[in-house]
């Protein structure tokens, strides 16, 4: 029975990844300790030597990709419910497209933020931490943070709206008067995506990259 459980693809994948991760950390930690090279573990070095461009572009990438994941997830959940429910109750088709639009809005927030953030990335001529300057580092980290903020907010917003929309479609199929009330729940769910966008705009308001 243990063998059957292990044969599951999920189990193998996650056991493998977890094992690799923890063993790397363990071995690296042991090496640092044995060779008395703990002084070489320098987080400040990592943060100042890695290029601000890496952080900025990670932020941009995460902004759009996580938003799209959220939107896609929401649409697929709602969409399948509408299509399934529409077999027996074709009248729900048109009204429930509103849920799809709420999910899509999340993706639009994501792409707008990605474009806004990417416009802030300018080139600078500095190679050492002193010549790069604190402002460029702040710009890099802010863009990363903003991208992360908008990405994760939109991810969960999209999933939320999707599941609520799916419920709305099925309830509507049963009883047409339920739909309008459920729409209010969806609106609350959609607001949280907007919060993420507002905070991301605030984070990048002071960004000025360049010389």
């Amino acid at each position: 029975m243990l063998l059957e459980w292990m044969m599951n693809g999920h189990a193998i994948l996650y056991t493998g990844v977890t094992l690799a991760f923890w063993s790397t950390i363990l071995i690296v930690g042991i090496c640092y300790t044995i060779f008395d090279l703990g002084f070489r573990f320098d987080v400040a070095w990592f943060l100042t030597e890695t290029s601000p461009f890496m952080w900025a572009n990670l932020g941009i990438g995460l902004a759009i990709s996580l938003s799209v994941v959220g939107a896609a997830w929401g649409i697929y959940i709602t969409g399948s419910s509408i299509i399934g429910g529409g077999v027996k109750a074709p009248r729900i088709k048109t009204k429930n497209l509103v849920s799809i639009i709420f999910c899509e809005a999340v993706a639009i927030y994501g792409i707008i933020m990605a474009i806004v953030i990417s416009n802030m990335a300018e080139s600078f001529s500095g190679t050492t931490p002193e010549t790069i300057g604190a402002r460029n580092y702040q710009a890099g980290y802010s863009m990363f943070g903003a991208g992360l903020t908008v990405g994760f907010s939109n991810l969960f917003c999209g999933i939320c709206v999707g599941i609520v929309g799916s419920g709305a479609a099925l309830a509507d199929a049963q009883n047409a008067s339920l739909f309008v009330k459920i729409l209010i729940v969806e609106i609350f769910g959609s607001a949280i995506g907007l919060f993420g966008v507002i905070v991301a705009i605030l984070q990048t308001s002071k960004v000025k990259m360049g010389d």
Binding site: G9, H10, F39, F46, E49, S51, L58, E130
Partner: protein
């Protein structure tokens, strides 16, 4: 002649050791010395052309081998440091107290040798320039014939002699280190070609042809019989910008190696500060020239450990001081020494001029394979060397981070795909198979 023990494999015989070998040989053996001086020679020539791979009949050294076998005693030194072999004529001159006579086989047959009075007969043998395999073999074969002729003439004269076969410089150098130094002398993934590089490469190449042995001890500064500061480098050079050109001066030979005794007046060390002053004369037109390393150590609260830094590298000449600041990049825990492959002030500089108006902006310093320790020296050896090149470079970290992120995304995607199930509610294995007609 008492048999002398050959040197251990891989050991490079330096000037002192060569002098002692020669002294021992000449004290007991015959004082008529026949010196065959070839332009270039390496042990590889004998391996390649001496029939060492079972093909004795192809050997180009039959006379040489015969002489070695038939002699009363012989010793082979497979690796002699290049300046030492260069100076062998001078050493023999000193030990025999006679001046060398440059000869060839014809003039030798006319010479009358005496067993009691010492004589130094030198035969110059060519090697050939840019030789390809064929001509090198011919040249060595020709040299061997000359050796055979000379030794047979000596035999007919019935005078005991000592024969030495050596060369002025090696014919082959060991593979050279790549000095494409990156950040702080470590690896660099982000190399760019600078206009200085080609000239530098030419200079490096010329320098590398010089003594490659490089096995010498560090410069030690002792305070009260205890070694306080240690410094070692494979190359130490300074350059000055004069009228648009960089003129350089190599300080390695006057600081390190046999026969170099750098003057350390003005050096000092105590528990928190160490200062090593190397005094030179006649460097780049300056009569007195000093190279000063200033280090300090203290306790740093955040890391809870003592660190030392190389604060300044100063060039003092004719009353002017050119100061480079090194405390930003050159540091190590106080118990260890600092070592770096390349410490320069111009290429991925670890040393920067103190200010934009400082005279050090006209200077460049280059330290190759540089190791320094100013505190906590026990004995006269360096402590563990904290290298300037870390295990991962910033580029590697950036790559790892983004790769890790993508692996996470991949894992997530795989998880989603693997939980897709096809509908099996209406499957009926016992029922009729679904038929999809081709036509309408």
């Amino acid at each position: 002649m008492p048999t002398q023990s050959p040197p251990t494999a891989g050991h490079i015989v330096g000037q002192q050791q060569l002098a002692s070998y020669l002294e021992k040989a000449l004290n007991v053996g015959p004082r008529n010395v026949v010196l065959f001086l070839q332009d270039k020679m390496s042990i590889e020539d004998f391996t390649m052309y001496g029939g060492a791979f079972g093909n004795k009949q192809d050997s180009v050294f039959p006379n040489l081998e015969g002489a070695l076998r038939s002699s009363a005693s012989s010793v082979v030194l497979p690796a002699v440091s290049w300046p030492a072999s260069n100076a062998v004529i001078g050493q023999l001159q000193d030990q025999l107290e006679t001046s060398p006579l440059y000869m060839d086989p014809e003039t030798l047959s006319q010479l009358r040798l005496n067993a009691s009075s010492p004589a130094l007969l030198v035969f110059r043998l060519p090697y050939g320039i840019g030789a390809d395999l064929m001509s090198a073999k011919e040249v060595l074969s020709g040299n061997d014939e000359v050796i055979g002729q000379v030794l047979s003439i000596m035999k007919t004269q019935a005078v005991p002699y000592t024969a030495i076969y050596t060369a002025l410089r090696p014919s082959r150098e060991a593979a050279s280190l790549s000095l494409e130094a990156g950040v702080g002398g470590g690896r660099s993934l982000l190399q760019y070609r600078s206009p200085y590089k080609d000239r530098e490469r030419e200079r490096e190449r010329q320098r590398r042809i010089k003594e490659k042995a490089g096995v010498y001890g560090p410069v030690e500064f002792k305070e009260n019989e205890n070694t306080c500061i240690l410094l070692w480098a494979k190359g130490l050079s300074v350059s000055i910008l004069r009228s648009g050109n960089w003129e350089d001066h190599d300080l390695t030979s006057s600081t390190f190696g046999e026969g170099a005794s750098p003057k350390l007046h003005g050096s000092s060390c105590d528990k928190t500060k160490a200062r090593l002053v190397l005094n030179y004369e006649n460097v780049l037109g300056h009569r007195s020239f000093k190279l000063i390393f200033g280090m300090s150590q203290r306790y740093y609260k955040v890391s809870a450990r003592r660190w030392f830094t190389l604060d300044i590298v100063e060039l003092e000449y004719d009353g002017t001081k050119a100061t480079f600041n090194g405390s930003r990049n050159i540091y190590a825990p106080a118990e260890y020494s600092y070592r770096c492959e390349l410490v320069t002030s111009f290429r991925w500089p670890l040393l920067v001029p103190r200010s934009s108006k400082d005279p050090s902006n006209q200077w460049r310093v280059t330290f190759e394979d540089f190791q320094i320790q100013g505190f906590n020296v026990t004995g006269s050896d360096f402590s563990y060397a904290s290298d300037c090149a870390g295990f991962f470079s910033p580029g590697i970290w950036m790559g790892l981070m983004t790769s890790l992120l993508m692996v996470l995304v991949l894992t997530y995607g795989l998880h989603m795909i693997m939980q897709l199930r096809t509908m099996d509610r209406f499957d009926d294995p016992k029922g009729p198979a679904i038929s999809v007609p081709q036509t309408e």
